[in-house]
C-alpha cells in the first residue's frame, strides 16, 4: 500500500486505516526524532505523540483535504515541530551522546588501529556528530539524508525556500566533514 492508497483509505475510514499509517511511518518518524534529539526514549515519546496528533488532525479534516495531503512531508513536519518545542522547553544540550557511550570513553592503549577505525566508522560516531550540529543544520541534514525527503518536501516541512534549505544541507555536511576529520586528527595524536 503506497501513501496515495493509504490516504484514500484514511479518507474512507480513519480508524480502520490508521494502524497501516503507523506501521508504514513508525521507523521514519522515530529515526527523525532520534537523530534530531539523540535520545531513544525521547524519540519514542515524540514519535508516539506525533501519531496521536496526526490522528486528531485527520479526524478534523474533510476527506478531500486528507486525499490532498503529502503524507511523508506532513508527518515529518509534526515530528520536527515536536522535537523543536521539546528542545525549547527542556533546554536540551545540543550534543547528547546517550546512544554512543563508548565515544566518551578514551581510546585505551590496547585498542588496535583496526578497532579505532571501526569505532570511527560506526553509526554511533556519526550519530554523535549529527547530534552536535546546530539545530537548523541538524534538521536539514536529518530530513534530507537520514529520512530522504526531497528539497520540495523539505521546503514544506521547514517553511523555507528550497534554495535556503539546499544551503543548510550543504553547510551541515561541511560541518560534519570538519568534525569527522578533527576527531580523526585527535585520534592520531592520542
Amino acid at each position: 500500500m503506497d501513501d496515495d492508497d493509504l490516504l484514500h483509505a484514511l479518507a474512507r475510514d480513519l480508524d480502520g486505516a490508521f494502524e497501516a499509517l503507523v506501521r508504514a511511518h513508525a521507523d521514519r518518524c522515530y529515526s527523525i526524532a532520534l537523530r534530531f534529539l539523540g535520545d531513544p526514549a525521547d524519540a519514542e515519546e515524540i514519535a508516539q505523540d506525533a501519531f496521536v496528533r496526526a490522528h486528531r488532525a485527520l479526524g478534523s479534516y474533510g476527506s478531500e483535504r486528507i486525499a490532498e495531503l503529502r503524507l511523508r512531508a506532513w508527518l515529518a513536519t509534526i515530528v520536527i515541530n515536536l522535537c523543536r518545542s521539546r528542545v525549547a522547553r527542556h533546554r536540551l544540550p545540543t550534543t547528547v551522546l546517550t546512544d554512543a557511550p563508548h565515544l566518551t570513553a578514551a581510546a585505551g592503549p590496547s585498542d588496535t588501529p583496526h578497532e579505532r577505525l571501526a569505532r570511527r566508522e560506526s553509526a554511533a560516531h556519526w550519530a554523535a556528530l549529527v547530534a552536535g550540529l546546530p539545530a537548523r543544520y541538524r534538521a536539514a541534514v536529518v530530513l534530507r539524508h537520514v529520512d530522504g525527503l526531497s528539497y520540495e518536501e523539505m521546503s514544506e516541512v521547514l517553511g523555507r525556500p528550497e534554495g535556503t534549505i539546499r544551503a543548510q544541507v550543504h553547510r551541515g555536511l561541511a560541518l560534519l566533514r570538519a568534525a569527522f576529520e578533527a576527531a580523526e586528527r585527535e585520534e592520531s595524536i592520542a
Binding site: 494502524e19 521507523d27 539524508h145
Partner: protein, 268 residues
C-alpha cells in the same frame, strides 16, 4: 549534488547518514494504537469474586470479564469490539489504584471508561448505575425513571446484562422491581449475592423483604420514605421504622420521598 574533495567524499558521508535510519522500538506501534484507543492492553486483576481480566486503552477501561483462559478472553474481546488486544503484565499504576479505590466503594475515585459502541440509552443506564453507592441497591424501574424512560424497565435490564465493565460499573447493585436480587452477567446470581454481601448490603435480608412484599422503609419521626438500603433508611431505629408496600401507600400517609435515594412509583 556538489562534491567537495577532502578526506571524506560527500557520497561517503551521505552513505553514513543513510545508515542512521533505524527501526522503531517494537513497542512503538502497539503503544500508539493503545493510546489512541485503536487497540487495547489487558491484564489480570484480583477482585472480591476472584481473578478477572481487565482491558483498557487511552480512552479508559473497556472490558472486565471473568472468562477463564486468556485466549478465550481475547476471542471474546475481538468478537465484541473488533480491535487488536495485547497482553501485558500489569495495569498502569494510576489506573490500578483508581480501580482498586472504586471497587472498595470510593465514589470519588474516577475510573475512565471507554463505552464506544454503546447506544445513548445504554450509556445513560450505565452512567446512572455508577451513581448507586456501595452497599445500596436500586430497582431496574428506578434507573428507568431516573433516565427519563420510566416504561423502559426491560430495556434497562438488557442494557445492564450487556454491561461491558461490571464491578467498575456496579450493575450488581441493581435488583428486580419486586425486590428479588435477580440476574447477574458476571458468573451468575451467586456472584451478585457475594458482591452485595461483601459490600454490606445483606442480600438475604433483601430477599426476605422481597418475599414479605416490603419495597420501602419510612421513619415516623422525619416522615421520609426511602429504599430499604438507603444510608438514611439504615439509620432508622426499629421503634421508628415503618415498612411500606408501595410509594403510594407512604405518600397517602403523608411521607415524602427521600431526596438522596429518590424513590419513585413503579409498576410492580
Amino acid at each position: 549534488m556538489t562534491s567537495t574533495t577532502g578526506d571524506r567524499s560527500t557520497a561517503s558521508i551521505e552513505e553514513a547518514l543513510r545508515g542512521l535510519a533505524v527501526a522503531a522500538p517494537p513497542t512503538l506501534v502497539g503503544d500508539t494504537l493503545v493510546i489512541l484507543g485503536l487497540a487495547d492492553d489487558y491484564a489480570p486483576i484480583e477482585t472480591a469474586i476472584g481473578p478477572m481480566w481487565v482491558a483498557w486503552n487511552g480512552r479508559g477501561v473497556s472490558t472486565i470479564s471473568g472468562t477463564g483462559e486468556a485466549s478465550a478472553f481475547e476471542a471474546e474481546f475481538r468478537a465484541a469490539l473488533h480491535r487488536p488486544i495485547r497482553r501485558v503484565a500489569t495495569l498502569p499504576t494510576r489506573l490500578a489504584r483508581v480501580i482498586e479505590r472504586r471497587l472498595a466503594g470510593d465514589r470519588r475515585a474516577h475510573v475512565p471508561v471507554d463505552l464506544r459502541g454503546r447506544t445513548a440509552f445504554e450509556r445513560a443506564v450505565l452512567d446512572k448505575t455508577s451513581e448507586i453507592p456501595r452497599g445500596e441497591v436500586r430497582p431496574y424501574g428506578w434507573i428507568a425513571a431516573e433516565i427519563g424512560h420510566p416504561a423502559a424497565v426491560r430495556a434497562v435490564g438488557t442494557a445492564l446484562a450487556k454491561n461491558p465493565i461490571p464491578l467498575v460499573i456496579p450493575c450488581h447493585r441493581v435488583v428486580r422491581t419486586d425486590g428479588h436480587i435477580g440476574r447477574y452477567s458476571l458468573g451468575g446470581p451467586e456472584n451478585k449475592h457475594s458482591l452485595l454481601t461483601w459490600e454490606g448490603a445483606d442480600p438475604d435480608r433483601l430477599e426476605a423483604l422481597a418475599v414479605s412484599g416490603i419495597r420501602f422503609v419510612g421513619s415516623n419521626t422525619t416522615r421520609v420514605v426511602c429504599h430499604p438500603t438507603c444510608r438514611h433508611a439504615r439509620r432508622i431505629v426499629d421503634a421508628h421504622r415503618v415498612p411500606f408496600r408501595s410509594l403510594g401507600d407512604a405518600e397517602a400517609r403523608g411521607y415524602r420521598p427521600c431526596r438522596s435515594c429518590r424513590p419513585v412509583r413503579m409498576a410492580a
